[in-house]
Subunit: 225 residues, 2 copies
């Protein structure tokens, strides 16, 4: 049975959703504010979270951020405003789906099913293996022929972004934003320095990079698979 947490400040809405979900054989828990929502997630770890953006205490966005800091639980964001800003922001923060009020129960149920099914697929861990090198991005673990290789936080972040786009070119702006935020300094050589240390640790021959390739003037590309 799927366990759903409904987060909404409107008691009537909580009630409606509970009844409908329970009638479909979902186990339901509700929360009226962000604080208790976080608590429920932490204690009981639902299969899906339905999160309304308009909450009294914490902003829904803040709740989502905090959730993502400690769990991968699937979240469907519910919003009264159909502003696409909200949508983009929510999805960027790791929401799995987005639905705007008013919505039909059927649509909601369909999205709950879709999301729990999708997550049921257990995103296979992001692992790369080349030669003796093994990069387990989800575990933040790197080994060469079994020996541990230590990467620093910045190095991991860069490797992670590059690995997610494996094969594709990743622009410098995207890499810089991923680590230093949108207000990164344009006039630095962060990337050159950190990519150098990444190569020193991961490339077979750091002076002749194969995995982390430079695309002059554009960005970098991670080649594997």
């Amino acid at each position: 049975m799927t366990f759903v947490l409904v987060v909404d400040d409107d008691p009537a809405m909580r009630r409606t959703l509970s009844i409908n979900l329970r009638a479909r054989d979902y186990e339901v828990e509700t929360a009226g504010d962000g604080r208790s929502a976080l608590q429920v997630v932490e204690e009981r770890m639902p299969d899906v979270v339905l999160l309304d953006l308009g909450l009294p205490d914490l902003d829904g966005i803040a709740v989502l951020t905090q959730l993502r800091s400690f769990t991968q639980v699937p979240v469907i964001v519910v919003s009264a405003r159909s502003e696409s800003d909200d949508k983009v922001e929510a999805l960027d923060l790791g929401a799995d789906d987005f639905i705007t009020k008013p919505f039909s129960i059927e649509e909601l149920l369909a999205r709950v099913r879709a999301t729990s099914r999708r997550v049921g697929r257990e995103e296979p861990d992001l692992v790369v293996e080349v030669d003796g090198l093994r990069l387990d991005v989800t575990d933040s673990r790197a080994t060469r022929d079994g020996a541990e290789i230590h990467l620093t936080p910045i190095e991991w972040k860069l490797v992670e972004v590059l690995a997610r786009h494996r094969g594709r070119l990743v622009r410098q702006a995207e890499l810089l934003t991923a680590v230093w935020g949108p207000a990164y300094d344009t006039q630095t050589n962060y990337l050159r320095v950190h990519l150098a240390s990444i190569r020193r640790k991961l490339e077979a021959d750091p002076s002749r990079p194969v995995l982390f390739v430079t695309e002059p003037g554009m960005g970098y590309r991670f080649t594997a698979g």
Copy 2:
């Protein structure tokens, strides 16, 4: 690791399920008839039983009845017929969930997860043994060469979270949330202090940690196996 017993008379189906479950890090045993299924359950007590209703010797329903006479092991009934009679009967007899063929692997996996979670953490024996050190997380008992080691509640909670993710990096936010809830204070050194006392008690050489490794700027990792 969760241990699943697959009971089905069709070898191809056993094989398919085994492969898919093993790929997800489940330990799998199979049985082709009711008799051997009962035997496996008695001898090795799986965490979840996948029970097909169409068996050669004993009727699946009969197997379920006998199972329930001596154990509470979670059972997911698999049936080719979607007759709700079957469903009602199976659930009445103590099945924990019901799924009809044909089904997607994803759906099955989701139900296995849900069932094993619902029935309780049942994390089969979260016990770690290294050198003379023995950590029984489920029982909250720790011994070194037979001698009791006392851990405080907070220490246990941290050890538990780390042990559950053995080998993986556990981020600071996750550890903090596990102990102090989602509204933890960001600006403290809780983790440093408590990890220090954990190491003082559990590490062979606390000044040179092997079990509880720090990943600067990210979190901690419990290494065993």
